[in-house]
Amino acid sequence: MLEMNQIFKVFYEGTPDEKIALNKVNLSMKQGDFVTVIGSNGAGKSTLMNVISGKLVPDMGTVMIDGVNMTSLAEHKRAVKIGRVFQDPMAGTAPTMTIEENLALAYNRTKKRTLSFGVTKKRRDFYREKLEMLHLGLEDRLQAKVGLLSGGERQALSLLMATFTDPKILLLDEHTAALDPSRAELITNLTKEIVAKLGLTTLMVTHNMQQALDLGNRLIMMDKGQIIFSANEEEKADLTVEKLLAEFQKIKGGAGLSDRSLLS
């Protein structure tokens, strides 16, 4: 489903700030794979996401989605195949528009926008039915402005908006990091439920090791622009946070406690 081949991306090339964000990264995901990505700040996780979503174009390498080369396709064009949820709950919704209008925007991700109404009686029933999946009572507040919702509700809505049109790839960029523990758990459970139900091919970045272990069927660890550790389904089943940290320190050559604190 997703094939990333020899992806190389450098920032501020030729200046003293030069930083290799992705160093010849290869990543292959099959239909239905759910890969969790961990790594300290600056490891290249977000750059990896942005190269897939098209926000960044890699300096070298190719990105194939569903058998089509998307390496330099414009962000909005490849969005037809990609659903995204961002870290900031404010980022995934339009605050001055109502819940149903936001859903109407998301509904059009895979379709051409026309001059027909975004919210019709039939569509409203459809949106209501989808919102019921969140168990937050949002189905009764279709005409509430999204700006009035709490961070957790917004993030749940963002998750629904990103997924209810069956994206080929779902990108979750630390989408629970800005929420309190109970809301984060709610979103984590919703993620698990929705991804399983729709069988979505998912890539999730997280700083929470436990979450990375709980979710998904594969795990990769990134550092300095490279994938330094990768666990398949069986290996992942045996992993614990302690084992992951030990693994990380072994690869880093005992770089010390500072990394541990960054990761846990």
Binding site: S53, A74, E75, H76, K77, A79, V80, I82, R84, F86, M90, A91, G92, T93, A94, P95, T96, M97, E101, A104, L105, A106, N108, R109, T110, R113, T114, L115, S116, F117, G118, V119, M161, A162
Partner: protein, 308 residues
């Protein structure tokens, strides 16, 4: 006095179309578009030059609308394709249009007094003093209704979302660049349409008639929002229409003050906008202070909570 007021409402209704255009760029797209000062004149210039050339005034006015659309699209293209800052792309287009408008008109002022215009036609159809006012009111409300409906279509929704959260709409596969171009085109089409009608209403088009037009548009939007509110699209656009009429009334009243003359118009406009921007905040603060005072009095009466 009554005739002055009548004139104020009449022209206010026509300026409301321009204000609706400003609403689309300023509020919907969140794009402070200064093209308006130029495209308003472009509308007047295209219409008046076509009318003096013998074209039907209605067709001339529609042509003005398209000219404005093109001007707005150019600003959008400067911003999205050229990567120029929104304010600057508007200013550049405004300056460019000044010369273009002079080229269209061929001279700084084109009189229309002897010509058949939309206004003279309307007056010939219905022989009443109210005919122009009523016709323009219906026209303006139809335009308002079309905007309301358009902003609820799939394209309209993504246009609104561009002004609200651009990154989000792009992640839902909308081409935000072209959305902005389209929005600015529509905005300036309305502005030029209004300019064409104002030229015919005043009986001339002048290369300087657009100066400060963006501020008048903003004044209308802001006054309307302060008076009517903007909780829903239909309400917000109604507010803009009412705001445009109110603005004309306020200016007419202000000009009746002895020591003010027509040259002070722009100063009055600026002061109106400043007041309309500051007043809601001052009122909110006063309400907040009153609430705090009340709560404190209540707290003292209850003896207050435990000291932590």
């Amino acid at each position: 006095m009554m005739t002055a007021m009548f004139g104020a409402v009449e022209s206010g209704v026509i300026y409301a179309i321009m204000a609706l255009g400003v609403y689309v760029s300023f509020r919907v797209l969140d794009f402070p578009d200064l093209t308006v000062d130029g495209s308003f004149v472009t509308g007047g210039a295209v219409a008046s030059i076509m009318i003096t050339a013998g074209y039907d005034p209605f067709i001339s006015t529609i042509a003005a609308l398209f000219a404005g659309f093109l001007a707005g699209c150019m600003t959008g293209i400067l911003h999205t394709k050229g990567g120029i800052n929104p304010l600057l792309s508007g200013i550049l287009m405004m300056i460019a249009l000044y010369s273009i408008n002079l080229r269209i008109m061929g001279k700084p002022n084109v009189p229309l007094l002897a010509e058949e215009t939309v206004m003279t036609k309307i007056e010939s159809w219905f022989t009443s003093a109210w005919s122009v006012l009523l016709f323009m009111l219906v026209l303006t409300l139809i335009i308002k209704l079309i905007i309301d409906l358009f902003l609820k279509t799939e394209i309209g929704l993504s246009l609104r979302a561009v002004g609200d959260n651009e990154g989000m709409v792009r992640s839902f596969s909308a081409n935000t660049g072209w959305m902005k171009v389209l929005g600015l085109g529509l905005s300036n089409a309305l502005v030029a349409f209004s300019g064409a009608l104002i030229a015919q209403y005043n009986g001339f088009s002048d290369v300087g008639m657009g100066i400060g037009m963006i501020v008048i548009g903003l004044a209308s939007v802001i006054i309307g929002e302060a008076v009517i509110g903007d909780s829903k699209i239909a309400r917000a656009t109604l507010a803009v229409v009412v705001g445009a009429i109110l603005y004309r009334i306020i200016v007419t009243l202000a000009l009746r003050i002895e020591f003010l003359d027509t040259g002070d118009m722009k100063l009055i406009t600026a002061i109106i906008v400043i007041i309309a921007l500051i007043m809601p905040k001052v009122l909110d603060k006063q309400k907040e202070a009153a609430r705090k005072k009340k709560r404190l009095a209540q707290l003292n009466a209850d003896g207050g909570g435990p000291v932590a």
